[in-house]
């Protein structure tokens, strides 16, 4: 982990840490964002540095970008971070700030997730750059990640444009060596009143659109010259156009090829590309996800190959890139693999899906909702994991904050056969749950909104938010109370419940479901792993008493597993004291005296 006090010349930094470092070295004064894997650590790293810069979590990406735009207009270099889908939320602002331009630099980090490691889709945000007509930079290792921040700032200010800096999960989460530079104090340019530029009334907007196109033209010229794009000469048999992480794989797999490594993805240096194309016998584009470069090249009349060999789906890896080159005939085909089928069967059966943590306060509400036969409209957060067996309670998950609005629609358009419950986390509620709740109230929906308030942004590792009473730096700030907020909006039925009290959860949810109108239930237990671990005395199974009814296993708690001992055809269970958090819910459910608290934690011994 990077530390602030000692600054050696080189450090092992993840892509995200490197971006943060880049921001510090380049005088970023305002940094905002909303947590989202794989972007989260950028702001977290920034917040750990004790400097003048302002770092904050915003309730959502659009707000973060708005703050960022303001920061830039005020004359401070600004960094706004989010995951790929976050940019959809911020897209409204993005599309227009592209018109107004910035005063100081506005760098927007979009962290894409090829392979969908931790997201709801694998959209390719390079397309946003074309859409908004703004530049997009794509580093391919930690060093570049840092360096590109500087470039991005300079481009942003030179061309008066917001700049997208695209990372991917692999880049963000790979640690590599980074040479460190001095941390620069952030300058402030000061605000400048400019109504024609900053007020997008139609008459101004029409003018600004023109300016955007002019800017694009200048940017294209810049691209041809920029050091961001690098021609690595090699064999002229094959030329490869690539960028980002794919570049590393290409280098690994096909080190002898000529490579045009693009750092500036939009706009493309078409002249340079033509020259490169002309220099090689065969031209391939190796890009993760969408054929963004490939199609532009084809549109420009440059003959390239790409997506016919390299998949549009999923994350690249050296072997996938190798397979692509093999498919393209660039590399010899491998001998037939030995017994791939057997290997596959083993992989399929080696079952270890992610699950809600031991002691997770979300488990019981979903256990209950399933029993209540509710149509559970999910949202984005850890609780999405309740879609898996055994909880298997969630029936839809779409995007941040969708649950409440969808619930309204499901109710209004539905047959009323099942109660409709939107489940949403505290952070997601602040992100984009409030307007749809207003909609539900305004339009008199008959839905229940279950706000799973675990007092953190758990899925991304425990970030603070408006409801936690602390800011990103851990300083005490105002708490926005969800219950009060709901009541203020006009929700008549607002109830809190302890999610570890199974009976209370049943009781509360049932009464909420029976309420004719919008009802809100708010759970009150904190996440047991983030931001701090809450571990009490673990529980254990007294095998003698266990009747193998498996009711405890319905919680899906990872600490509870089968033993070899069989009772009436069923496995008895045991609790892994190493992972048990001591929430006691399984003990509450156990219909015998089998699950008991341990006086002494067997996982730890006095040292």
């Amino acid at each position: 982990m990077a530390t602030t006090t000692l600054t050696p010349a080189k450090e092992l930094l993840s892509g995200n840490e490197a971006i943060a470092r880049g921001a510090l070295e380049n005088g970023i004064r305002v940094a905002t964002g909303y947590p989202g894997t794989p972007s989260t650590e950028i702001l977290e790293t920034l917040a750990r540095y004790d400097a003048e810069h302002y770092v904050s979590w915003s309730p959502n990406e659009k707000v973060a970008l708005d703050v960022g735009v303001g920061g830039a207009l005020a004359g401070s270099r600004t960094l706004v971070t989010m995951k790929h889908v976050g940019l959809n939320v911020a897209a409204d602002t993005l599309m227009s700030v592209a018109y107004t331009g910035v005063r100081a630099a506005l760098v927007i980090v979009t962290a894409d997730d090829p392979g969908v490691h931790s997201s709801q889709n694998e959209q390719d945000n390079r397309i946003y750059a074309r859409f908004a007509e703004i530049p997009l930079l794509e580093p391919s290792d930690s060093q570049e990640a840092k360096d590109f921040v500087q470039q991005a700032c300079e481009i942003s200010e030179r061309f008066d444009t917001p700049v997208l800096l695209r990372s991917t999960t692999r880049l963000s989460h790979t640690k590599g060596m980074v040479s460190l530079g001095p941390i620069a104090p952030p300058p402030v340019l000061g605000y400048e009143r400019n109504l024609a530029k900053n007020v997008l009334v139609p008459s101004n907007a029409r003018v600004r659109h023109e300016k955007v196109l002019e800017r694009s033209a200048r940017l294209r010229e810049f691209a041809e010259e920029s050091s961001l794009n690098r021609w690595e000469r090699g064999s002229n048999a094959v030329g490869v156009i690539t960028s980002g992480m794919a570049y590393q794989y290409v280098k690994e797999v096909l080190p002898e090829a000529s490579i045009l490594k693009l750092g500036l993805i939009h706009p493309l240096p078409l002249d340079l590309l033509r020259k490169f194309a002309a220099s090689v016998q065969r031209l391939l584009v190796v890009e993760e996800l969408e054929p963004v470069i490939e199609e532009q090249l084809k549109a420009a009349g440059i003959a390239v190959e790409g997506k016919e060999f390299f998949p549009r789906l999923g994350e690249f890896s050296p072997e996938r890139v190798r397979q692509g080159f093999q498919k393209a005939g660039v590399l010899p085909s491998p001998p037939k693999n030995m017994e791939p089928e057997k290997g596959l069967a083993v992989q399929e059966n080696l079952f270890r899906p992610p699950a809600l943590c031991p002691g997770c306060p979300h488990s019981v509400p979903y256990l209950v909702l399933k029993k209540l036969n509710a149509l559970v409209v999910g949202d984005i957060g850890c609780y999405t994991l309740a879609v898996y067996e055994p909880l298997a309670a969630i029936e839809t998950t779409l995007a941040m904050g969708c649950s409440i609005g969808m619930a309204v629609g499901l109710q209004k358009g539905g047959d009323g056969a099942r109660p409709i419950v939107a489940t949403i986390g505290d952070s997601t509620f602040f992100h984009s749950g409030i307007p749809p709740l207003i909609d539900a109230l305004y339009n008199n929906a008959r839905i229940t909104v279950l706000i799973l308030d675990n007092q953190t942004t758990a899925m991304t590792g425990g970030q603070e938010h408006a409801g936690t009473g602390k800011n990103i730096r851990g300083e005490k700030v105002r708490t926005i109370e969800i219950a009060k907020l709901c009541k203020a909006l006009g929700v008549e039925h607002v109830q809190g419940v302890d999610p570890y009290d199974v009976a209370a959860v049943f009781r509360t949810l049932k009464s909420a479901i029976n309420h004719d109108g919008v009802s809100v239930v708010i759970t009150n237990r904190p996440c047991v792993v983030s931001p701090v671990t809450i571990r009490t005395t673990p529980y254990a199974v007294n095998g003698k008493e266990c009747d193998a009814c498996q009711i405890c296993m319905n919680l899906g708690c990872p600490a509870i597993v089968w033993t070899e001992e069989i009772h009436q055809g069923q496995h008895k269970v045991t609790i892994d004291a190493r992972t048990c958090m001591g929430c006691a819910v399984c003990a509450l459910l156990c219909p015998t005296e089998a699950i008991v608290a341990l006086a002494n934690d067997p996982a730890r011994r006095a040292v």
């Binding site: 290792d141 009711i551 992972t579």
Partner: protein, 282 residues
Amino acid sequence: MESPATQNVLIVGVGGQGVLLASDILGTVCLGRGYQVKKSEVHGMAKRGGVVYSHVRYGTQVLSPTIEPGTSDVLLAFEPAEALRWSKYVKPTGTVIVNTQKRIPPAACQDRRPDALTRYPRGIEQALRSQIEDVRRFDAETLAFELGDLRMCNTVLLGALSRVCEFSAEEWLAAIEKSVKPRTAELNRRAFLAGRSVEFPCAEEPQAEELVFEKREAARDEAPFIEIRQNWCKGCEICVRVCPQNCLVMNGSKLAEVAKAETCIRCMLCEWLCPDLAVSVH
């Protein structure tokens, strides 16, 4: 084709086992030597009982942050099934170091019906050995526990790893000290040394067993039959609520009804907890 100097170490385990800290320490050791290092992992599910892995590559030049299958020099597995899952990444001449303590995921036990597969296999050791010659298995957790804290398991495993890497014990210990909380530095040091001093094979090897996912056997030949005497049932909902298999539902007359008899595991809770004695499981 790849740089002969590049070394690949794949560290795998289950969320919460300390895989990432272990790979951080390895990265720091490499950095100390002035090597190029890349260390790649995916966060997010790490704390959620899911699969956790970290690719560590070091040498004079490192390009791809991830390791290609069949090219890893070492696989350091915190869990046997994870060792099996990632074993294809290891060179046949490579080394597998594996902690023998199993972490059976509940999902592997979720299907409670007869004939269902338990999705955690037997015979992992045998399967590993059939692919890689140098398999070093030991109970790192017990060793850690005996040292005073189960969580030292990752450091114990690093100790075992240190025997197959080129770095000296001093280099490792310096990196460990840098990476852990001062409070636990001494314990970590002892854990590392304990792991380092393990000689392989360290214990009796288990009997060779074919890799197999076991099928559950039915307790009885005939399938369970749930009988609900509707005229006795008063609709209190208890049976519906307690059934772990969700076999029962409340019907339109607000009485209990069998919905999914086939999932019944004959746990008897519905019969035992029916206050109206209206339910019998045959």
